[in-house]
């Protein structure tokens, strides 16, 4: 059966679309800067030991909120935080949960959205009805509210020993309310692609449903989805921070940028601006990089808007 399917027009078109996009992106200076920023942040998340040699869990209450006297040197290069832990260490070690959470949520949301979207669009009928109803239900509950509801259920019930335990609950809550956008895009793209000549032809040639879905429809559906992924990652990072400020995101003593920010906003008004400015700077820089990257990607993948 497989020898019957010659390289489809779709595959060729897709290939040139992606390489076109890549070529366009490569030339844009803002994309290059954003990529550098993102690489830096990812490195920090993966290898915190490169940036600090202090243990963020060694904290002396008496040393709380020491302002950094000499920048980037001395025992505490960025001073100490509200608990007397080394601030540079908490900042660096807080990167990993933030990034890991954002990436895992986006992966889960995209996968769930793609699968459900293709199923709904391809089979129609009951599958479509059920999935569309589920979409409606999740869309009418605003993400933050839904996350608040779920997180409150589990608050304090999980330990914060390992990375996975730390981000498990926020991951669940954010993914549960994050897949709908991808599902909608995929469903629309599937409906459109389903009736294109080459798909119908593939069907006539006896290709299995699974083959059609993943070989012919998915490459088309993935384009609009990819275009919004970077921006959505930025959005997840912001939402995590919002949840932390509300006191229900990643739970202390585990840290994330959101947790640092929620402590930082408390103390910034009292003159400890550095406790607020550093995590804010990191967060805005990262989100901005993701958004810029996403913006360029959207342009590149949608030639109409160029």
């Amino acid at each position: 059966m497989s020898e019957l399917t010659a390289p489809t027009p779709a595959a060729e078109r897709q290939a040139s679309l992606w390489s076109d996009a890549f070529r366009t992106m490569r030339k844009r200076p803002d994309v290059i800067v954003a990529t550098v920023v993102l690489l830096f942040v990812f490195t920090m998340a993966a290898f915190p030991g490169l940036f600090t040699d202090q243990d963020p869990t060694v904290c002396f209450g008496r040393d709380a909120k020491l302002r950094p006297d000499r920048w980037f040197s001395g025992e505490h290069p960025l001073g100490t935080d509200a608990f007397g832990c080394d601030f540079a260490a908490t900042l660096v070690h807080g990167t990993r949960p933030t990034i890991a959470l954002a990436l895992s949520v986006i992966v889960a949301s995209v996968v769930v959205g793609l699968v459900l979207g293709i199923l709904a669009g391809f089979y129609g009928g009951w599958a479509d009805t059920v999935i569309s109803r589920a979409l409606d239900v999740f869309i009418v509950i605003p993400m933050l509210m839904g996350a608040v509801l779920i997180l409150s259920l589990f608050r304090g019930r999980v330990s914060t020993d390992t990375l996975i335990e730390t981000i498990a609950v926020p991951f669940l809550a954010l993914s549960l309310f994050g897949w709908m956008e991808f599902c909608r895009y995929t469903r629309a793209a599937t409906l459109e692609t389903k009736n294109l000549d080459y798909v119908v032809a593939a069907k006539c040639l006896g290709a299995s449903d699974r083959r059609i879905m993943f070989k012919h429809i998915l490459p088309n559906a993935i384009v609009p989805v990819t275009a919004v992924v970077p921006t959505t990652i930025g959005g997840i990072i912001v939402t995590e921070a919002a949840l932390a400020v509300l006191g229900i995101g990643v739970q202390p003593p585990a840290t994330s940028w959101g947790v640092l920010l929620s402590k930082g906003t408390e103390w910034a008004g009292g003159g400890y601006v550095y406790l607020f400015a550093w995590p804010l700077g990191m967060l805005v820089l990262t989100v901005f990089a993701f958004a810029t990257f996403g913006d360029a990607l959207r342009d590149a993948l949608d030639p109409k808007l160029r």
Binding site: D30, R133, D136, V137, I139, V140, I141, P142, M143, L144, M145, V148, L149, I150, S152, L153, R157, G234, V238, A241, A242, V245, L246, L261, T265, A268, G269, L280, L283, V284, V287, F288, A291, T292, D295, K304, L305
Partner: protein, 336 residues
Amino acid sequence: MGRYVIRRLLQALLTLGIVLFLLHYLTALSVQIRGNPALLFFGGDRTPDPNMLAQVERLYGLDNKCYERVGDPCLSPFVDRLQNFVQGDFGTTLNGNRDVGQLLGIYIPNTLRLFIFATITLVVVSMVLGTWAARHRGKFIDHTVRGTTILADSIPVFLILLSYVYIVAVPLTRWARDIWGTESFMGQVFRPNYNPDYPWTTIIIPGIIVGTVGLASMTRLIRASQLENLGSDFVRTAKAKGLKPMRITIVHVIRNSLIPIVTGIGFLFAFMLSGAVLTEGVMGIPGMGRMIFQAVQRQEGNLVIVGLTVSAVVVVFVSLIVDLLYAALDPRIRYE
């Protein structure tokens, strides 16, 4: 058209029914997992007499044994609740035993006022920026507008608010009061907290700040649709007729760019409600977002269900209206 509306309404009802049940189940689960909020009635640190506790559970409507079994969907309280809702009885709060219907009457207008200012800000700013960027497509201004709006969107709105309250509001209010006096509009508008004596004035600033949520995507939408229109046949015709560029922009381009604005607002509505949680919390506005958040924290199950259902109803109907407006604005769209 009529059949389409009826079908959409029926779908909306089904959606709301599912939402109601899910919310009921989650709040029941919350009582089962997190513990019975009746204990809070006694202030906490002291051990209440078991009989007194049982009385309070009855008062709270949490005396059904199903609230002690984790995972039990508590169907009979759900049916009771639906019956009460149908009769227009939204129940009472746990703390202070207040009528929820009355509370909504206080909270909804505050949130609506916030949304009015937010929507105005969003539409006006993104309209101006989008149009400006489209007219200077590919030039420095286009890139600047785009970069700035993306940056504005990258800073979480609640941090802008917190910075405003902690850093800017107090000196600004003092300065304004020195010049215009305490009771004047200017003396009130910059206040760091909402004040029920000035329900419109003190909600302007938080409204404007909430309005920056989604600025980048909205500006982008408007820019794109204007570009499309600028390159369209009817604009070319207008140009050929020798109309002034200003007139072309206003009459032909902007009017035809209304469609994405309508869609955008409908889409952003749910986001704004999320934004309202933090905004209302930071500025002390007694509105729906803050009410729902506090209700979740305090396990006010009834308030959570009613509050989120109200917001769900609004979202459902806003999206229905958006779809209908879409057809009205764009003659190419027809609903069967």
